[in-house]
Amino acid sequence: MVKNPYLPFKAKILDIKKQTDIDWTYRLECSLSPEWGQFVEVSIPGVGECPISISDFGDDYIELTIRRVGKVTDVIHQLNQCDNLFIRGPYGKGFPIPDFYDKHLIIAAGGTGLAPVKSIINHFYDHPDKLTKFNLLIGFKTPSDFLFKDEIDKWKDNLNVTITVDRAENDNWDGNVGLITNYVPKINIFKIENVRVVVVGPPVMMKFTVQEFIKLGVPEENIWVSFERKMCCGVGKCGHCKIDDTYVCLEGPVFNYTKAKKLID
């Protein structure tokens, strides 16, 4: 008997945290035990289905940070605690976390790119002894686009966190201003061969940030990125996320840069 991978299951909304006006984090009741960096297909019957990366997870919950930008997410944002979302997954290949042990890990995240790596940051925040050093570079468009404010404040206590905004606008902001790429060369690196880099964000941000790390001398094979594509089925059939002979939903969304750089949309 072939099982039907397209049937979703019901997951109760345990909590909703409003990070910005449009980015809300939903904690859902379910035990999926995903890998770091995997995604799920989230749906509301009658509205539609969309791929969302898992921003955090525990034994009996997952968290999804959902930006209100489309048909499905518009309706998700109308739901309340104790309502249900429909889920299937987890799908895709995540980050190779054990490869980062005993290394100097640098995570560069732009905007919502912080969501798929948040669980990794929390993992190493809780287990600082597993890394020799940990740097976190976070970029947002403006101070009002901040995600995970409480957690960032928590991370700042124990981690090297650099936060920058593209534009300060009129907000009350006395921190860094400028693109994330400007802050890559400022990271203190002792042994370049020990550095492992994760870059997640909009395509242009990933492209230029990776270039900065390569300029510093980080070998391509020590850099990982995560792709966002239109994963309609999540199981390697629908074709929307195909790039060359690669299916982002199967071999990605996390790719080593040696592979990612060859992918031509």
Partner: protein, 339 residues
Amino acid sequence: MGYKFTTEEFNRLLSDLKKQYRVYAPVLLKGKGRFSDTDVVGYGEIQNIDDVIFTQKSYFSPKEIFYPISETMFYFTEDEYREPKVESKEIIVFLRSCDINAVERLDKIMLENGKEPDYYYHRLRSKVKFIKIDCPTSFDSCFCVSMGTNYTDNYSASIHSDNNGLYLCDVKEDINGLFSSYGTFAEFKPLFVEENDFSVEVPEDINLATIAEHDLWQEYSSRCVACGRCNTSCPTCSCFTVQDIFYEDNPKCGERRRVWASCQIDGFTDMAGGHSFRKDKGQRMRFKVMHKINDFKKRFGMHMCVGCGRCDDVCPEYISFSRCVNKVSAAVQGVNNDG
């Protein structure tokens, strides 16, 4: 084993088969042509063997029989859902060598790609048996010989019409003993096309980065109108989009469907939030052509394109896929020669 049938004998065989099977073949769809009062050859259920069109290539491929254009995945009410039932009858399809090869390609993506087979495809596909229509000669725009898909032995029976009421079959699987009981033994070898009017040279060693930037795609940027006919007529195109609909009278009930999708049509890569890829139609052509003659083979060991030429037949802008492949071939050679 070869058998010959008169029309009457074959119709008796068909009427027995139809007790257990739905039998599909290329038929004349009256008034369904591109222009008013014109017909087109497409797939439909047949009542008797005279319904089958042997002398023309079908405009549409047989894939719609077991991979429907629109398919309900489940019906839902407020918080419950139910899968649609599937008919208990099995399926027999009359189709040509290229199309049998094409189904083998669909199987690769739908059954083998990823961790598990596609549930909906599998449940219809596992009911299908093939009757191979002989191709005594090639049609316009066919290039199956170049693609190596002019031959197949993956069929229950082959059928050759002498266009005069006599049918010759090469039977590999005597379904329910019907071929041997209605037919007369005859020495017969199935016919395959050995030569097409047009041949295609599929390039090897394509450097994707170089070829994507080549100016050969520019002409398609202006010629292609992104109608997607090449995809819908293709026997190997398999992309789909999932859509939810709800019933007007009760918006809490509805169904989730999947419908065929096209990499040539706007919106194929659009993501919520505004990012999309391949806005240029020339690059969409590049994406499609590379899938058919490069990417698929890297993944599954065989080219996706089977050389049926339907995409050339249906294009309203007279864009030729096969000629494009030859242009790519020349470009690849040029690039390689330039070092």
